[in-house]
């Protein structure tokens, strides 16, 4: 697909030849994740998370479809239908724990996938479209995860839904009507639960669609790599199959061990005990917290405590959405021609000593109660978060002096690149 030396699919069996003529699906697979896709030979294990994310999407859809066969999206019986799954459905407990913790593991994988992109500059040309589609997938995942958490109709489901839909109420003038329209009422109830279930079932298939576009867009320039130097010749790449099917297979095994350890030995560790209490509109939990994967953004929402031109609540909502929307502009904010953080001394410092600690603080404070010192900590971390993407990255990319890049991937791997074929498909070293 992407490089002239990519292997070509040559069906041998008569049936496969027939199929290739009528519906070349095997050819598509061969070119997408088979021997027909040349991949940089130097990918490290951080490049494993795309495959893992795809795997988790399938796990979530399969477990989710089966759970939906036993679940009842009605405010009166939703909670007990979940208990019915846990107690009476054969292996229902395993399915539900796999699905609930699967969402968590999906987000673990996605966060690592995104931060891989941040560090190695995967968002830069020619892969901007891959990045933009990725951010769309992340937003869809957040919507899906949020609505999924509402379905058991426990206390955190109800109050989480109330707080998050309440955010729309911060929009001046039209906020409240929008909120009522979204919920189908003044507070979350049967109407909200039903539409959340419907959308929770729909959105994963939308995600599948965008994932296909994401992979399609990736296959035009091919995968990025830890050096950030583009592929120049055949010696820079190996075919996806068997090299990366084998490597990702091992990564998948390690990942599954962690995932299953969570499902079978600590399935409620990442959940909140309050969600085992049926939803009660009359009793507000002491601390309303969303699921852990929303904590950084929840911390940003709560960090805006004082009116500053705009009301504090509106600022918080704007900042929370901007915190993700800013990722859309990343390819144009960071103009450094060097992709990989390995060769960017100044960027690297801001990444490891700025962005990562700020993210960790936001993760922690988002799950903590809304009191001091957590509010003050998240205010500092929020300030750095926005400075990092909107101020630091543009300025660093202007003033930084990158370290020398290897001539090619082959040189980076083997020490020299005598085999590099300088031909017409060669791009000059950056």
């Amino acid at each position: 697909m992407s490089f002239p030396w990519a292997k070509h699919y040559e069906p041998k069996a008569p049936l496969m030849r027939y199929l290739d003529e009528k519906l070349p699906l095997p050819r598509l697979v061969y070119n997408a994740i088979g021997a027909g896709y040349p991949v940089p030979r130097n990918l490290n294990y951080f490049w494993n998370f795309g495959v893992l994310a795809g795997f988790m999407l399938v796990v979530q859809i399969v477990t989710g479809v089966i759970l939906a066969m036993h679940y009842a999206a009605n405010a009166g019986v939703a909670f007990s239908s979940v208990e019915h799954i846990m107690r009476d459905v054969n292996w229902g407990w395993a399915l539900r724990y796999a699905h609930a913790n699967g969402a968590s593991m999906f987000f673990v994988v996605i966060y690592l996938h995104i931060f891989r992109g941040f560090f190695y500059g995967s968002y830069k040309a020619p892969r901007e479209m891959v990045w933009l589609l990725g951010v769309v997938i992340f937003l869809l995942m957040m919507a899906t995860g949020f609505m999924g958490y509402v379905l058991p109709w426990g206390q955190m489901s109800f109050w989480g839904a109330k707080v998050i839909t309440g955010l729309f109420g911060a929009i001046p003038v039209v906020g409240e009507p929008i909120q009522i329209w979204l919920l189908g009422g003044f507070a979350p109830d049967n109407a909200a639960l039903n539409r959340f279930f419907s959308l929770h079932y729909l959105l994963p298939f939308v995600i599948v669609g965008v994932v296909i576009l994401h992979i399609w867009a990736l296959h035009l320039p091919g995968s990025s790599n830890p050096t950030g130097v583009e592929v120049k010749s055949e010696s820079d790449t190996v075919p996806f199959h068997p090299y990366f099917t084998a490597k990702d297979g091992f990564g998948l095994g390690v990942f599954l061990i962690l995932y299953c350890a969570l499902v079978f030995f600590g399935p409620n560790m990442l959940g909140h005990p309050d969600n085992y209490i049926p939803a009660n509109p009359m009793s507000t939990p002491a601390h309303i917290v969303p699921e852990w994967y929303f904590w950084p953004f929840y911390a940003i929402l709560r960090a805006f405590t004082a009116d500053f031109i705009l009301p504090a609540k509106l600022l918080g909502v704007l900042a929370m959405f901007s915190a993700i929307l800013v990722w859309f502009f990343l390819p144009w904010l960071d103009k450094s021609p060097v992709r990989s953080g390995h060769y960017r001394p100044l960027f690297r410092k801001f990444f490891w000593f700025g962005l990562i600690p700020a993210m960790l603080v936001l993760f922690y404070c988002g799950g903590a109660p809304a009191e001091e010192p957590y509010v003050m900590l998240s205010q500092i971390a929020t300030a750095y978060y926005f400075l990092h993407f909107l101020v630091v990255l543009p300025i660093v990319s202007m003033i930084e002096r990158p370290e020398p890049l290897p001539f090619s991937i082959t040189e980076a791997v083997l020490g020299d690149d005598n085999k590099a074929v300088l031909g017409e498909n060669t791009t000059p070293a950056t």
């Binding site: 084998a246 085992y276 004082a306 101020v391």
Partner: protein
């Protein structure tokens, strides 16, 4: 241009959030404390350390203990608390025979309908019935319990942090309100009809101390101290909250053993496949 707008927006958000930080830190300095001290903050205690047979990845049910816990629930807790997600048939998992399950189900009175008149009545339970609720509805529950609804206990150990330890600590944690608390927070005096318990979130619980030594007589001869009964019923509620707990961890070991084997094979396969490609040199 886009970077210029970006820098301006970035500085705007930073200014707004730091403005809040300024007011927040000023308030903290002004007050002299980070969090307003409350009786809950200072006197609430984390659950006591107590071991259960189901603890850890190799946990097992202690069927004798579960049967004792069931007895405590039946003779004490069930006066006020329902157990609505558990059916009598489930008791077979506690080691009771089919006849024993039938007998114990029949010892409960459940709501029924007269087959001839269609009027509501009551009848003895059968194994397919669920544990009956002690109150007809929430209003009746409130009326009988000083305006507090006794919560359903089926999921109690999953609905609290450190569930079984919490239940044990709460049942054994009643005590007189400390003098130090009243000295520091004179307004926090435990109200009438409430009982001081440092393991409860707001320290004052509407449930009277339910257990006292020798309250039940155990069939297996175990001495029914308050601690013993609290521990037994906490173990029983661990089972009601998740009857599949032990099956889960046992399945987990089989799954992990398989995955470990498969992952080692995958590692060997990966080494084999990559053997022809020179290993990656460390980046300098």
């Amino acid at each position: 241009m886009i970077r210029l707008i970006g820098i301006l927006i970035g500085l705007g958000f930073t200014a707004a959030v730091l403005w809040g930080f300024g007011w927040g830190s000023a308030a903290v300095i002004d007050q002299g404390y980070l969090v307003e001290p409350t009786a809950e903050h200072e006197f609430h205690k984390d659950p006591k350390e107590v071991a259960f047979a189901t603890d850890g990845p190799f946990g097992k049910w202690d069927l004798q203990q579960l049967q004792r816990g069931y007895q405590v629930y039946k003779e004490v807790c069930s006066a006020c608390h329902s157990l609505k997600y558990v059916a009598f048939r489930d008791l077979a998992q506690l080691g009771y025979t089919e006849a024993e399950v039938k007998a114990t189900a029949a010892s409960w009175t459940v709501p029924g309908i007269d087959p001839n008149t269609g009027e509501t009545n009551t009848r003895p339970g059968t194994p397919t019935d669920y544990f009956p609720s002690p109150f007809a509805n929430d209003i009746a529950a409130r009326a009988a319990n000083n305006n507090a609804i006794p919560p359903d206990l089926s999921l109690m150990t999953k609905a609290r942090h450190e569930g079984a330890r919490y239940v044990y600590s709460l049942l054994t944690g009643y005590q007189p309100q400390p003098a130090a608390l009243l000295a520091e927070f004179p307004d926090a005096k435990t109200g009438t009809g409430l009982y001081y318990n440092p393991y409860f979130a707001n320290l004052n619980l509407a449930m009277a101390p339910p257990l006292s030594d020798g309250q039940v007589t155990y069939a297996d001869g175990t001495q029914a101290t308050r601690e013993q009964m609290a521990k037994d019923v906490a173990a029983f509620l661990t089972w009601t909250a998740e009857p599949t707990l032990v099956k889960r961890t046992q399945t987990g070991w089989a799954v992990l053993a398989f995955l470990l084997f498969a992952t080692i094979l995958a590692w060997l396969a990966k080494q084999q496949v990559w053997a022809g490609v020179k290993p990656k040199r460390r980046e300098d």
